[in-house]
């Protein structure tokens, strides 16, 4: 199975060129991610770092990993992050003050732990080993080779991780689920109720607030066919504040004499 990306990865010169272009960009973006003020900018830079990493993976022959990195991390995880950031509206106004005591030492401890883990992993993988590349692993194609490993040698770990993730997702759903005290009436319920109770005057829906040539606003009650004002057409909030204008001057034939707004 020949493909261009792998071809590019094998030749030294194009890969070096790519590395020297994308490498600095990735590092700058990674630094920027820590330094920019706005959380959304940080998320965008993070997405960019993920994409450059994916390109590096592809160039080195790990085609499947590279594409999946974009689909899963850039497409789903980062998107969720952005979703939350936009929904909650986290901004530079966010204070850096600790709200929960003792977070800082825990964070430093976790940092040291993860750093140590990373260093030891990289050391184990590189020190005293010859670099062999992915050529022999990719002999039967990148995807079949990965599938073979995942579903034979690592099938246990794979299944455990998926079970863990599903449990976590279910747990989050259970924790975030809140039970309604009253069932919310559906459109169907409301429609049935409109016909079964009271008069049929409102079956077609409530009247909109007044839209008149002289006064186009939400604070004028709509006029019913008999000339009386429809009290349900304006917000009860406006009524309570006393911000409602009488709509009788806007009746047909009387509009000329009226002065419009006289609050």
């Amino acid at each position: 199975m020949i493909n261009l990306a792998l071809e590019v990865g094998k030749t030294a010169a194009p890969e070096a060129t790519m590395f020297w272009i994308l490498g600095p960009l990735a590092v700058i973006a990674a630094l920027g991610m820590l330094l920019v003020k706005k959380a959304v900018h940080s998320a965008i830079l993070m997405a960019w770092v993920m994409i450059t990493l994916a390109i590096f993976y592809i160039a080195q022959g790990a085609l499947f990993l590279g594409i999946v990195q974009v689909v899963v991390y850039t497409g789903a995880v980062m998107m969720l992050f952005l979703f939350i950031l936009m929904l909650v509206g986290v901004d530079s106004a966010d204070s850096l003050k600790e709200t929960i005591k003792g977070l800082r030492p825990i964070a430093i401890l976790a940092f040291i732990g993860f750093g140590g883990l990373l260093v030891s992993l990289i050391g184990r993988a590189t020190l005293g080993h010859q670099i062999v590349g992915l050529d022999s692993a990719n002999a039967n194609g990148n995807v079949p080779a990965l599938a073979e490993l995942l579903f034979s040698k690592y099938v246990w770990a794979f299944e455990v991780v998926s079970a863990l993730l599903i449990t976590a997702a279910l747990g989050a759903m259970v924790l975030a689920h809140n039970h309604r005290v009253h069932q919310r009436p559906t459109q169907r319920d409301l429609s049935i109720l409109r016909f079964r109770t009271g008069s049929l005057a409102e079956t077609a829906g409530l009247a909109n607030p007044g839209v008149y040539a002289l006064h186009n606003a939400v604070d004028v009650p709509a006029l019913l066919p008999d000339g009386s004002a429809a009290p349900t057409s304006i917000s009860a909030m406006l009524e309570a504040r006393g911000d409602v204008i009488d709509s009788s001057p806007f009746q047909l034939g009387q509009a000329e004499e009226s002065e419009g707004e006289d609050k």
Binding site: N3, L4, I51, L82, M86
Partner: protein, 411 residues
């Protein structure tokens, strides 16, 4: 020789020529698509549609494009300027990238060189298209956020939730195709459909893909991200001039791209209709490109037809449909497909596999009948307390006026 091997021998300049070809095709298709959509929708609504500029109004989109480019380019004061400019660029560049792996023709001779009209063939080609699509959504979301106003933000939020949910359904619908084709490469999937199209063999997958591709491209009836009746224009409310034109372009190129992917995965790609396979050798193989675009145009017509027919879904209905119908249905379907595949690979007779499929269908039918008949259709008036008719106004503590009354009615 497989398509992948043919493409592996392409010299650089052939790839460049094909890239230019794909770009021109995509842009031209966009211009044609906008015109065609306006004309078709007009027919469906008993109007005539644009018919002034050029023959049959064909040049209408071109003049609209020029007009758009000459308009004033506004950047709102509250906008995040850099992101505001980057967003349409992301949208417009990513939408072209998925065409790189779409096989548009069989083996042909281009300037005396044997090749196929497909820029490159990745072993994970279909996943690549998914990846590009997911990056493309960044354009919409960032546009919504960076505009610094409410409607675009809501549009951006809607679109991110929409894409996350419908990409799951879309990805799952593709799994059955991968299982049957034994590959994720677009050219091999097309080759595997020489005998039977997957739209017939894997009909449920086809339906799920067709639904989720409409959701993925933000088209009616799933155009909640720009719902003009609710959000003005959604994520692109604040955009004008060329930046808006880029979003416009991206939308239509995306429609062509998902249609092309649907053609590749389910309608046999560039292969001719069954019974007309002799046409594939016409013009030295170039005629296959006609078949390919005929199928893409078929899908595009469906898009327009949907828009002309269906009203927009309510947002909660849309989400419920994605998570509670499409995703469980495709998971169940994958289980069935995988079982059938393993059975036939293990040498179970054709009758056995077919019997299993019919058995599953029967079980599902009986289950649904049982569910329907057990559901009590209550004829009572629903027990709901309807509050006084009021408008959704947040309860703000009021300092003046008869405040007691407002607290009673809104508290």
């Amino acid at each position: 020789m497989t398509t992948a091997e043919i493409l592996g021998q392409d010299p650089g300049w052939i790839i460049l020529v094909k890239g230019v070809f794909v770009f021109i095709i995509a842009v031209l298709a966009t211009l044609m698509a906008i015109w065609a959509e306006r004309r078709i929708v007009a027919r469906m609504q008993m109007r005539i549609g644009p018919n002034r500029v050029g023959p049959q109004g064909l040049l209408q989109s071109l003049s609209d494009g020029v007009k758009l480019a000459l308009k004033e380019d506004l950047i709102p004061a509250a906008a995040d300027k850099i992101v505001f400019i980057i967003a349409p660029i992301i949208s417009a560049t990513t939408c072209f990238m998925s065409f790189a792996v779409i096989p548009m023709s069989g083996p042909v001779s281009l300037f005396g060189h044997k090749t196929a009209m497909q820029m490159t063939d990745l072993p994970v080609g279909v996943l690549y298209v998914l990846a590009i699509a997911s990056v493309g959504v960044y354009g919409i979301i960032l546009a919504g956020w960076s505009s610094g106003s409410t409607y675009p933000l809501l549009g951006g939020l809607r679109s991110s939730a929409q894409v996350i949910s419908y990409e799951v359904a879309m990805g799952l619908s593709l799994v059955a195709v991968f299982i049957y084709a034994g590959s994720m490469s677009t050219s091999e999937i097309v080759a595997a459909q020489q005998k039977w199209w997957y739209s017939i063999v894997l009909f449920p997958s086809f339906v799920i893909y067709a639904i989720s591709m409409v959701g993925e491209t933000n088209r009616a009836p799933f155009d909640l991200a720009e719902a003009e009746g609710e959000l003005v224009g959604g994520f692109h409310t604040e955009y004008s001039s060329l930046k808006f034109a880029l979003f416009f372009l991206a939308e239509y190129v995306n429609i062509v791209a998902v249609s092309a992917l649907a053609t590749t995965l389910f309608l046999g790609g560039y292969h001719a209709l069954p019974g007309l396979t002799f046409t594939e050798s016409w013009l030295g193989g170039w005629f296959t490109i006609v078949w390919f675009f005929a199928k893409v145009i078929f899908f595009f017509f469906i898009f327009v037809w949907l828009r002309g027919t269906l009203p927009r879904l309510r947002y909660d209905q849309f989400m419920k449909f994605g998570w509670k119908v499409l995703i469980p249905a495709s998971l169940l379907w994958i289980l069935i497909v995988a079982t059938m595949r393993v059975m036939s690979l293990r040498g179970t007779s054709r009758g056995g596999v077919l019997g299993f499929a019919v058995g599953i269908v029967l079980v599902v039918l009986i289950g649904s009948f049982a569910y329907d008949s057990s559901k009590k259709r209550s004829e009572q008036i629903p027990e709901v307390e309807i509050p006084e008719p009021s408008f959704p106004v947040p309860a703000i503590p009021i300092s003046h006026g008869p405040s007691a009354q407002s607290e009673v009615s809104h508290g």
